[in-house]
């Protein structure tokens, strides 16, 4: 049962992050996810200090506010300060994260938090951290519920706003001319990324969140030129990553989050080498042996 819980949680995180990541990489802002996942740290600490509890609701709220604040700052430095987006991201999240680290060290005695748990998380604890009702009924892993809700929210968001997200990503000025607010959808998307990042990193850690945000969409991008297929492939790769990562970790007796990130990276490498259109090795074979059938065969031989 524990295995199932961990794999389902991992898959929910992977799909939620991956779907949003598709938009992020096409908007050339993949590292925003990285920024948010780090910059929310002071929000979590402040929420903890104010509420005095480790209640998820407060943590999510604090982190969520900081997440939106981060995207606002990035945008602000970029537009008002004429700073490049990547520089703006780098400046913003490093000082916010550092602020969080200082807050933790200053209030070390009072805060039951450390950087390790924030950065690396621990998906292995998912089955232990149960949601127990007041009358003692055990409802199952708490994180599973949180991620289930987040997953539904993200799915609904992308299905309802598919057109708006698609057009503001592809051609923002055309969207504005049509009356679709790019600013609104930018912050809606960033809000969704904040929510997902914050909800996910408690269980799987910031690094795995970043891996899930970027690696599966980047892999899917290499495999297809159709955006809807890209979303589906991303979700599929996300689930594959969660399952593969779990068993790799069991086999190695190592960190699950780490193993999942490694699998995500491996799948990307495979796509990079063997993607039907852009794969490096595929292209080599196409150059050497023009007939398509032979190329496919030789690749199949290489894989096996």
């Amino acid at each position: 049962m524990d295995t199932i819980y961990i794999i389902i949680t991992g898959s929910l995180v992977a799909i939620s992050c991956g779907l949003l990541g598709c938009y992020l990489i096409l908007r050339k802002m993949a590292m925003v996810g990285d920024a948010i996942s780090h910059a929310v740290l002071p929000g979590i600490v402040i929420a903890f200090l104010l509420s005095g509890s480790r209640d998820s609701a407060f943590m999510l709220l604090g982190a969520g506010i900081l997440g939106i604040f981060t995207t606002f700052l990035i945008e602000f430095f970029h537009t008002k300060g004429n700073l490049q987006t990547d520089a703006s991201i780098g400046v913003t999240f490093t000082w916010l994260f550092a602020l969080g680290v200082i807050l933790i060290s200053v209030f070390a005695g009072e805060v039951d938090l450390d950087q390790d748990c924030v950065l690396y998380g621990e998906i292995a604890y998912v089955p232990i951290d149960l949601w127990i009702l007041d009358d003692g009924t055990i409802m199952g892993p708490r994180v599973l519920y949180i991620m289930g809700v987040v997953f539904c929210v993200i799915l609904a968001f992308i299905m309802l706003a598919y057109k708006e997200l698609y057009i503001t990503t592809f051609d923002p000025s055309f969207a504005v001319a049509m009356g679709v607010s790019t600013t609104l959808w930018h912050y809606m998307l960033m809000g969704a990324v904040s929510l997902t990042t914050v909800a996910s990193f408690e269980s799987v850690g910031a690094i795995l969140v970043v891996a899930f945000l970027i690696a599966p969409p980047a892999t899917a991008y290499l495999l297809t030129e159709d955006f809807k297929k890209m979303l589906w492939i991303t979700a599929f790769i996300g689930v594959l990553t969660a399952i593969g990562g779990y068993y790799l970790a069991v086999w190695l007796d190592g960190s699950i989050a780490g193993a999942m990130s490694v699998v995500a990276g491996l799948l990307f490498a495979l796509a990079f080498l063997f993607s039907p259109q852009d794969g490096i090795i595929t292209k080599k074979f196409k150059q050497m042996k023009p007939p398509v059938l032979e190329t496919d065969q030789s690749i199949a031989e290489m894989i096996s």
Binding site: A161, Y166, I167, F170, S173, F174, D226, F227
Partner: protein, 262 residues
């Protein structure tokens, strides 16, 4: 020579736009007649693109106002259409030709609703008008420059608007595409639609447009093309580049000179 018209489709009043406190458009008072095929011309950096962007509310105004069909911009968004510069988007984006043309229908469909079969039919018809119907399922990354421009045009047609803004639709396209586009624009104009085109090729201007706007930070001239495209007004617009201008003037008189290299 700035001629104002009665009952204009587009009216700009005292329009000033600045980037970083440096003006790029200064005090433009412009009105354009319905059904005209308008060419906006001027040297590089004269504010041609900025003018149409300002008219559509894509850049903030430092002063002045815009009226389209005698109404506020937001009230008439569904009646206007925009063809951005081809380089403004990433053509490696995962989208098919059909996906892009369907974007033209988004405004009509409205928020949170899906596209209907009728929208696909309209998009297909628009692809036909630019002779791209056989490319509907093609990925946009595989198109040539001229084909990209046709796709953008088809997307604008799919908006079924009354006023079209086009930013350099002839830039970097092949001669066949240029002919196809100008034929289409003239048809649209004949149907009473107003088409405003940012253009940089002076030699073709009198043949293409029936209304010309000369711009260089300020509005230099606006009026019927044959009255506006004259040597003194061109000199006023293009300023110091006199030698270039006299060459252009000679070319215009002769007309039979090839106007482009490809």
């Amino acid at each position: 020579m700035i001629r104002q018209v009665n009952d204009p489709v587009l009216e700009l009043h005292d329009l000033t736009v600045t980037y970083n406190k440096k003006p790029v458009l200064w005090g433009v008072d412009l009105s354009l007649p319905k059904g005209a095929l308008v060419g906006i011309m001027g040297p590089n950096g004269a504010g041609k693109s900025t003018l149409i962007k300002a008219a559509m509310g894509l850049v903030p105004l430092s002063s002045g106002f815009v009226k389209i069909f005698d109404q506020e911009l937001d009230a008439v968004r569904k009646k206007i259409s925009y063809v951005p510069q081809r380089e403004s988007v990433d053509w490696d984006f995962p989208a098919s030709v059909m996906d892009v043309v369907l974007m033209g229908r988004y405004g009509k469909v409205g928020m949170f609703k899906g596209l209907r079969k009728a929208d696909r039919e309209i998009a297909h018809d628009c692809l036909k008008k630019v002779s791209m119907e056989n490319f509907a399922q093609r990925q946009i990354s595989q198109l040539s420059g001229g084909q990209q421009q046709r796709v953008f045009l088809a997307r604008a047609l799919a908006q079924e608007a009354d006023l079209y803004f086009m930013d350099e639709p002839f830039a970097g396209v092949d001669a066949a595409t240029e002919r196809a586009i100008i034929t289409l624009l003239k048809e649209m104009s004949a149907q009473g639609k107003t088409v405003i085109v940012v253009h940089h090729d002076l030699q073709s201007a009198t043949r293409y447009f029936d209304w010309a706007v000369l711009l260089n930070l300020r509005l230099v001239a606006s009026g019927p093309a044959e009255e506006v495209i004259t040597t003194p007004l061109l000199q006023e617009t293009y300023g110091g580049k006199l030698t270039l201008l006299s060459e252009v003037g000679n070319l215009m008189q002769k007309e039979q000179y090839p106007t482009r290299e490809n």
